[in-house]
Amino acid sequence: MIELDAVTVTAYASHDGRSEDVVTLLGPVTCRLTERRIAVVGANGSGKSTLARLVNGLALPSSGSVRVDGLDTSRDGPAVRQRVGFVFTDPEAQLVMPTPLEDVALSLRRLRLPAAERDARARAVLERFGLGERAEVPVHALSGGQKQLLALAGVLATEPAVLVCDEPTTLLDLRWRRAVDELLAGLDQQVLLVTHDLDAAERAERVLVVDGGAVVFDGDPHEGVAAYRALMSGRRPW
């Protein structure tokens, strides 16, 4: 279970290049997320990625608290990250090692398994994700979709309880978008999905609409998507 209690995130910002003001990026947000599939939608810069990063402890609240299964992200960061996997929009930054096999094995290192077992588990994970035959090709030779699949495999190899995905399909074509959506739908984990794909948002059990750093809707997916469409209608991006 993910709990946000009066969470705000603030940052310094400069408008004229000289003086700095404190601006609120998000909040205050209070909610308890217990559903297995939760979608977060919102315009670019609305604060939805900040919300996602709070759950993994990548961003820490300026005030309030974020807890995952009772663990506080500010106090128990490493333990939270063992429970919460995070998938980024661009897999390129997430893939660290030269080949898929080595990258998944890298994720498994923190489990302190013997090398042979690490290897076997990494191969099994790659097989499960349909990347078994690409296990030893250079990562840079994979397609964008395969890279995102590999990023997911690397995160899920350690079997986290919660998976946070920050726009995982934004850079993918329709085929890979569908493949990643299907994969996420079949997971046992609780999934918090930040997305611009409103079809995917409607398939969730709960939708949060973020606008201007505030959660302006929290509830039924169909109503949430309709609220987001209404919010964006007639609004210019500049």
Binding site: G77, R81, G85, V96, M97, A115, V155
Partner: protein
């Protein structure tokens, strides 16, 4: 013009990925050898080329490196392509040394450089990065006494191996972007975006490592970076 036409007619190559870091699966004696032994061999060769002077010893070192590459069954075309910039650097350094100190020193310096890099290529091409990290983690245990977790040290080496192809791709994309705007001869249009993107990539990788809990102690103790 003719050069551009020749390029247009050729099949495209994958972006250059650097000489180091790409493992070539195999079952040769070098693939089966322990990574620690291979790293020790590389260190011995490094010391040997510094201690032994003269062009003959350099050529001998290069012969050993080439023999190891043959034994490890490294694909010649891929290996040579990866070594391209190293060969160019060796040629430039050799040319300068020839002008400054004579042909014998020039041959020694240039050939030593190629021999060492080729031997390092053999080590990384016949050792999975995961095993290399295991060995480096073991070797770096004493660093714990000065506050550096061995896993972090090993991870830094792994990152270095992966970063070369990423930087090569960034340079390629920046060059294409500059070309698309007709700015291919403006060094600012190449260097500034390449530097900014490199820093941005470093920040993204840092975030991704933190998100995966890498660089934190495996038993859950917070690393210095993760401590709020």
């Amino acid at each position: 013009m003719a050069r551009r036409a020749r390029r247009a007619g050729r099949p495209q190559r994958a972006p250059w990925a650097g000489p180091l870091g790409l493992y070539h699966p195999g079952a040769t004696v070098l693939h089966r050898a322990r990574p620690g032994l291979k790293l020790a061999g590389l260190a011995v060769l490094g010391v040997a080329v510094v201690v032994a002077t003269g062009p003959l010893s350099a050529v001998l070192a290069l012969g050993v490196a080439a023999l190891l590459a043959l034994v490890g069954r490294l694909p010649p075309h891929v290996t040579l392509r990866g070594l391209g910039p190293v060969l160019l650097t060796a040629a430039l350094v050799g040319a300068y040394q020839w002008w400054a100190r004579g042909w014998a020193v020039a041959v020694e310096v240039a050939v030593d450089l190629v021999a060492l890099v080729l031997t390092a290529v053999v080590v990384t091409a016949t050792t999975p990065s995961d095993r290399l990290l295991d060995t480096l983690t073991r070797l770096a245990r004493p660093l714990r006494h000065v506050g550096l977790p061995p896993e972090t040290f090993a991870l830094a080496v792994g990152l270095m191996l992966r970063t070369v192809p990423v930087l090569a791709r960034t340079a390629h994309e920046v060059r294409d972007a500059a070309r698309a705007r007709g700015l291919e001869r403006d060094p600012r249009a190449l260097l500034v975006p390449a530097a900014i993107r490199t820093v941005a990539h470093a920040r993204s990788v840092g975030d991704a490592l933190a998100a995966r809990g890498l660089g934190e102690e495996p038993d859950g103790r917070p690393s210095r970076r993760a401590r709020p």
